[in-house]
C-alpha cells in the first residue's frame, strides 16, 4: 500500500467527519429494534417472568443462550488483538481495533442478560459483595458468582485494551478538528503529545495487557461453562465443557469478526486497508477452529453414547433423532459441513465473499449450539415425569433480536467516534516494512547469487 501518512489520515478519519443518509437510516432502524427490546423487557418486569417461555423444568432458555453466545463472540478481540500482538503477526494491524470493539460491546450485551433473566432485576446488587444487614453474603462457591468476577475483570481489561492504543488516534483527531469536536477529543486524548517516553510506556502497557488478557479470556468462558458443568444435570456434568466452550467462543468470535470487517470494508470504503489477505488469514484460523469444534462435539457425543447412562441417553437421542434433531443437524451443517470445505479450498478462502459465506452460518450455528446445550438437558432430567418443553415467547424473541440490533448500533456509533483502524499502528507497520525492505532485498539477492 503506497499511501502517504496524510492520505491514511484522510481515509481513516473520513467516517468520523462525514456520514451519509445511509448511516442515519441504519441507526434509526437499529435503534427502533433496540427500543422494542427495551419495551419487551419492561413488559416482562411489569408482568413477571411468566410472560417468557421459562417454566419448570426449563428455567434457562433464550436469555442464558444469549448470555453464553455473546460471551463467546467477545473472544474475537482477545484472539485477534492479544494473541496476534504477542506473536507479532504483522498482518493484524488493520484488524485489531475492529476486534477489540467487538469484545467490549458483546461483553456489555452479555452482561445484561443475567439482569434480564432476573425476575426482580432491581435486586441484582445482591450479587455484589458489600456489607449489609440481610444476614447473607454472596455465595463464593457458586459458579454464578465466579461469573460476576470473571466478566467484570474481562470487561475492565477489554475496555482498557481498547482505549490504550486509541489515545494517539484521539490526539490526531484533536489536532485536525475545531469546535466541540476539538474540545471532546482534547479531553479523551488525555493531552497525548507523542514523547518517546509516552510511546514506550504505551507500548509496554499494551504488551502487558495483551499477555494478561489472554488467560482472563480463557478463564471467563471456562467459568461460564462451569455454570453448566458444575450442575449434576444429564449432559452438563462433563469435564470437557471448559475447553469446549473456549474453543467454541473463539470459533464464533472469529466468524463475527469476519462479518464485521466485511461490512466495514464495504460501508466505509476500506478496500485498501482490509484486504483479501486479512480475510484469508482469518479464514485459516476459522478452518482450524471449525475442525477443533467438530473434534470436541464428536468427543463429547461419543463419550456420552458409549457411557450409555439412561438419563444422558434421553438427552442424547432428543438431539440426535428427537425433538431437537432439526436444530442439531442444522448446527452441524452451519458449523462444519458448509464452512469447512469452503475454508479448506484456497481459491475460495482467498475471496472475501466466500469467507463471509462461511462465517455467517457459523454465527447461526454457534447460537444454536448454545441453545442445544441448555434446553434439551433441562427438558430431560432424571425423572421422566419431570420432562418438559420450552417455547420462547415474543418477549424473548424481541429481546434477542434487540441485542443483535444493539450490537450493530453500538458498532455504527463506534465507527463515528473512533477510527475503526488504528492509524498509528498502521503507519508503524508501514514504517517497519519500509525499513526492512532493503534488508529483504539484499537477502534475496544473496540467495539468488550462484
Amino acid at each position: 500500500m503506497d499511501k502517504t501518512p496524510e492520505q491514511i489520515n484522510q481515509d481513516l478519519l473520513r467516517p468520523i467527519y462525514h456520514a451519509s443518509w445511509r448511516f442515519y437510516a441504519s441507526v434509526a432502524v437499529l435503534a427502533a429494534l433496540v427500543l422494542a427490546a427495551f419495551y419487551a423487557w419492561g413488559y416482562q418486569m411489569y408482568h413477571g417472568l411468566g410472560v417468557s417461555g421459562l417454566n419448570r423444568p426449563v428455567y434457562w432458555g433464550f436469555y442464558i443462550t444469549n448470555f453464553v453466545f455473546w460471551i463467546g463472540i467477545s473472544h474475537a478481540g482477545t484472539l485477534i488483538s492479544a494473541i496476534l500482538r504477542v506473536s507479532n503477526a504483522t498482518w493484524r494491524r488493520p484488524v485489531t481495533r475492529c476486534a477489540e470493539a467487538i469484545t467490549v460491546f458483546s461483553l456489555s450485551i452479555a452482561a445484561m442478560f443475567p439482569l434480564i433473566h432476573l425476575g426482580r432485576p432491581w435486586l441484582f446488587f445482591w450479587l455484589i459483595p458489600y456489607p449489609s444487614e440481610r444476614g447473607i453474603w454472596p455465595q463464593f462457591r457458586s459458579p454464578l458468582l465466579w461469573d460476576f468476577f470473571a466478566i467484570n475483570t474481562y470487561l475492565t481489561g477489554s475496555v482498557i485494551f481498547l482505549l490504550l492504543p486509541s489515545f494517539p488516534d484521539f490526539a490526531l483527531i484533536r489536532d485536525r478538528s475545531n469546535g466541540w469536536r476539538k474540545k471532546i477529543y482534547s479531553i479523551v486524548s488525555l493531552g497525548w503529545r507523542g514523547e518517546p517516553k509516552q510511546w514506550h510506556r504505551l507500548e509496554m502497557a499494551m504488551r502487558i495487557m495483551a499477555v494478561a488478557i489472554i488467560p482472563v479470556a480463557v478463564s471467563v468462558h471456562t467459568i461460564v461453562s462451569w455454570d453448566f458443568a458444575m450442575a449434576p444435570v444429564p449432559g452438563w456434568h462433563s469435564t470437557i465443557f471448559g475447553p469446549y466452550f473456549v474453543a467454541g467462543a473463539i470459533f464464533s468470535g472469529i466468524a463475527a469478526l469476519i462479518i464485521a470487517m466485511a461490512l466495514l470494508r464495504k460501508l466505509l470504503h476500506l478496500e485498501e486497508y482490509l484486504k483479501p489477505l486479512h480475510f484469508e488469514n482469518l479464514g485459516k484460523l476459522l478452518l482450524v477452529m471449525s475442525l477443533l469444534w467438530f473434534y470436541f462435539v464428536f468427543a463429547e457425543r461419543l463419550t456420552t453414547w458409549y457411557g450409555n447412562f439412561p438419563s444422558e441417553m434421553s438427552v442424547f437421542w432428543s438431539t440426535q433423532l428427537g425433538r431437537f434433531s432439526p436444530l442439531f443437524w442444522t448446527m452441524v451443517f452451519c458449523n462444519f459441513i458448509i464452512p469447512a470445505p469452503i475454508l479448506a479450498i484456497k481459491s475460495l478462502r482467498s475471496k472475501i465473499g466466500w469467507t463471509v459465506v462461511a462465517a455467517v452460518p457459523i454465527v447461526i450455528g454457534m447460537w444454536l449450539e448454545r441453545f442445544l446445550i441448555i434446553v434439551p438437558a433441562l427438558s430431560h432430567k432424571y425423572l421422566p415425569y419431570a420432562y418438559g418443553t420450552y417455547r420462547p415467547t415474543w418477549v424473548e424473541i424481541t429481546i434477542t433480536i434487540g441485542t443483535f440490533a444493539g450490537m450493530g448500533l453500538l458498532y455504527l456509533i463506534f465507527s463515528r467516534v473512533f477510527p475503526i483502524i488504528s492509524i498509528w499502528e498502521l503507519k508503524l507497520g508501514m514504517q517497519r516494512k519500509a525499513e526492512a525492505a532493503p534488508e529483504l532485498a539484499s537477502q534475496e539477492a544473496a540467495t539468488e547469487q550462484p
Binding site: 459483595p129 447473607i136 504505551l202 503507519k427
Partner: protein, 174 residues
C-alpha cells in the same frame, strides 16, 4: 515556557538534528533534559526514539497482581468466616472456588496497576496544554527542539536546526 524547535519530515533528519543538539549542549548552554522530541508514531530503531526507555512497568504489574491476589484471598476467606454458611457439603473456606475469585482479582490487580503506571509515568492526563506541542506532528512530522534555551543561543540553535534538515523552525511561547 519558551522553546525553539524544528519540524523534520523523516526520522533520519530528525536523528541528525538530535545529534547536533546533543553535541551543542555545553557550547550553547542547555541541558540534555531540555531537548524535546515529539512524534506521531514511535521510532524505536532510531536514537531519538530510545529516550527515557527504562521502565519498571512489568514488575509493578506483577506486584499489582500479587496484591490483588492476596486481597482477593483475604476478602473471600474473611467473608466466608464472617458468614459461616455451609453449603453443598463443602468446607467453609474452600480452596478451589476461592482460588477462582483470587485468580480473577490477581489479573484485575495486574491490569489496573498497568493502567495506573502508564498514566503516572507517561504524565497523562495533561489537559493544561502548557507543554510544547505542534499539530504538524499528526501529519508525520517529527519535532526536535530545545525548551527554555538561553537567549543568546537562539540564533545559533535556529541555524543548526535548519542545517540538520528542518522543514520549518519555529519559536513557541506558552
Amino acid at each position: 515556557m519558551k522553546a525553539i524547535y524544528g519540524l523534520y519530515p523523516d526520522p533520519d533528519s530528525a536523528q541528525r538534528a538530535l545529534n547536533v543538539l546533543e553535541r551543542a549542549q555545553s557550547e550553547l548552554g542547555f541541558r540534555k533534559e531540555d531537548i524535546a522530541v515529539l512524534s506521531g508514531e514511535p521510532y524505536e530503531e532510531y536514537g531519538f526514539g530510545q529516550r527515557d526507555k527504562v521502565t519498571r512497568m512489568p514488575w509493578l504489574a506483577a506486584l499489582g497482581g500479587l496484591i490483588g491476589g492476596l486481597s482477593g484471598w483475604w476478602f473471600v476467606s474473611f467473608t466466608q468466616k464472617s458468614y459461616p454458611m455451609i453449603s453443598g457439603g463443602m468446607h467453609l473456606v474452600t480452596k478451589w472456588p476461592d482460588g477462582i475469585i483470587t485468580y480473577e482479582l490477581t489479573m484485575l490487580g495486574a491490569i489496573l496497576t498497568t493502567l495506573v503506571t502508564l498514566l503516572i509515568t507517561a504524565r497523562i492526563p495533561d489537559w493544561r496544554g502548557r507543554k510544547l506541542y505542534d499539530p504538524a506532528i499528526s501529519n508525520g512530522r517529527i519535532l526536535i527542539g530545545v525548551i527554555n534555551p538561553p537567549e543568546m543561543a537562539r540564533e545559533e540553535l535556529e541555524k543548526r536546526l535548519r542545517t540538520a534538515g528542518a522543514e520549518t523552525v519555529k519559536e513557541s511561547v506558552s
